[in-house]
Amino acid sequence: MSDDTRDSETEGLEGKQVSDGRSHGAEERRRVHDLWVAGTEEPDWVATATDEGAQEMLPRELDPGLAAQRGVTVVDDYGEPTGLRGDELQILNMGPQHPATHGVLRLQLELDGETILRSKPIIGYLHTGMEKTAETLSYMQGGTNVTRMDYLSPFHNELCFSLVVEQLLDVDIPPRAQAIRILMTELNRVASHLIWLATFGLDIGALSMMLYGWRERESVLDFFEKVTGLRMNHNYIRPGGVAADLPDGWETDVEGILEVVRTGLGDYEAMLNENPIFVDRTQGVGIITPAEAQAYGVTGVNARATGLDYDVRKAFPYSGIEQYEFDVPVGQHGDTFDRYLLRMEEIRQSLRIAEQVIETMPPGDYRATDRKVTPPPRRRIDESMEALIHHFKIFTAGFDVPAGEVYQAVESPRGELGMYLVSKGGPKPWRLHVRAPSFATVQALPVMMSGQLIADVIATLASVDPVLGDVDR
């Protein structure tokens, strides 16, 4: 870049500051940007949070509106804690490349010393337009797209997509396929919670937890690889059933997982539950109340930690999960420690479901017999020209889905994962909207973090388990 261009760029920036009303009268300026260092003479140019347009923090004068808005509904402590505003008010940008933000989340924190007054999550760094992509893929291909959204719980994405399509298709899913779906999603919940535990431990300084968590999760992923061929992004659960039957000896593998993870859980709890540092850093940190959780659409463990008893598996059972016995643990404080306890218990409950699946796995087909959605068996392709054509058509043109608009939710490890499908007939969705649980959780972060110390940001953020692939899609 030559010196000329650099000069002109600088000029452009200065010009911009004038043009978007940043240097009107002193009073005006103070109104718009109340972030100058108090106690000093009023500066000519007021430093703002960032010059990235919409990604600024709201001006304070607008924010009381926001605070009132939130105050009226649910939050009574959203505004700045009184007496904290000193001469050290500053904006700190955390992320999007910060290792503790679990991906590419950016948090704008307004700080007084080490205390957080306000915060603003800025997302979109991982936005890949998957909802738009979904409109260009057939229902047969759609699974490969959605499985990549929440990359820590691919089976839940696939299951949700399959269920929402099947709602319109009106096909009967054989009991074995349903049981396989439950087995895989519940094991996926175990894997997801384990990796959460690992990264959470890493973030708050329990480094050995990181190693143990990854190690135990590996045993689950090995099983996934054996069944689906892939460790992540499986495209295994498909409209109509699952892609393949479980391999021989799967019971032994799952029993192995049960044993390894159960032993591990005992070790983790022995290591963390009584650990004074762990307890100090998690108890009473990142609190959200039940009313706030509901109004912000926070679901899953994060909502249940507040005492809300809502689990999609119990409220709106899917794929035959109502046949299995399991409990939904509910907390009462809504803090980081409760979220930790709940996830540990959820692992146990998921293992309990997996155990029941082993005992009650029904025989039969692993996919629907409806030829509309199910490709012919491999051996038929060698014998029959029609079968070959059918197989070819189903994978190229796809199958038509009747027109309609439906919503379907499943309980992903992060909360209610929902999909809203609009079909106008034809082999591709007209619109597929994904209600991502992490999206709602990230939005509620300012509520949890207001008034806390900066070190608690890490603990709070890690404890709500956001997956940025899920947030941004």
Partner: protein, 165 residues
């Protein structure tokens, strides 16, 4: 109240919702045991949402838009609310015309709608009046157009590989 008569009357939850918005033109399209779908005009939409909240649908789940392109009104905004107490979902559909793509914001009723309305503005260009901070959420600030609209060109963005230039 243009709600389709009998099925609503013996449904206490739905009654509570529709009754508060008595002046509203609310059409109940589906009244299943787990899910109720209602359609409402733009002018009655905020009243209905407030009534829904008062009527027990305390959990905000989702807000999204659908671009029907050739249809009039062109857009649908679908609000998805949940009552955990009654284990019931309420889907509210509002038509939004192409000439004036705007809708009152419900982020005053459900603060959770804040991000969802920003996303819908970002993706469909639907303006939510009264929203405290209606800016782009997922796309870059300087982005031109609203990608999830059906007439938005799908294509490739030229990528600058310097080695090939």
């Amino acid at each position: 109240m243009a709600a389709s008569g009998g099925e609503v009357a013996d449904d206490p939850i739905l009654d509570a919702v529709v009754a508060v918005a008595a002046s509203a033109k609310v059409t109940v399209t589906t009244a299943g045991p787990v899910q109720v779908v209602v359609e409402v005009g733009r002018e009655d939409y905020p009243a209905l949402v407030e009534a829904a909240r008062a009527g027990g649908f305390e959990t905000f789940i989702d807000l999204c838009a659908v671009d029907h392109l050739a249809r009039e009104p062109r857009f649908d905004v679908v609000v998805n609310l949940l009552s955990t107490q009654h284990t019931r979902r309420l889907l509210i559909k509002v038509g939004v015309p192409n000439e004036d793509p705007s809708l009152p914001s419900i982020s005053m009723v459900y603060p959770g709608a804040n991000f969802y309305e920003r996303e819908t503005w970002d993706m469909f260009g639907i303006v939510f009046d009264g929203h405290p901070d209606l800016t782009r959420l997922l796309m870059p600030d300087e982005w031109d157009g609203h990608p999830l609209r059906k007439d938005y060109r799908i294509g490739s963005v030229p990528v600058e590989f310097k080695a090939t230039r």
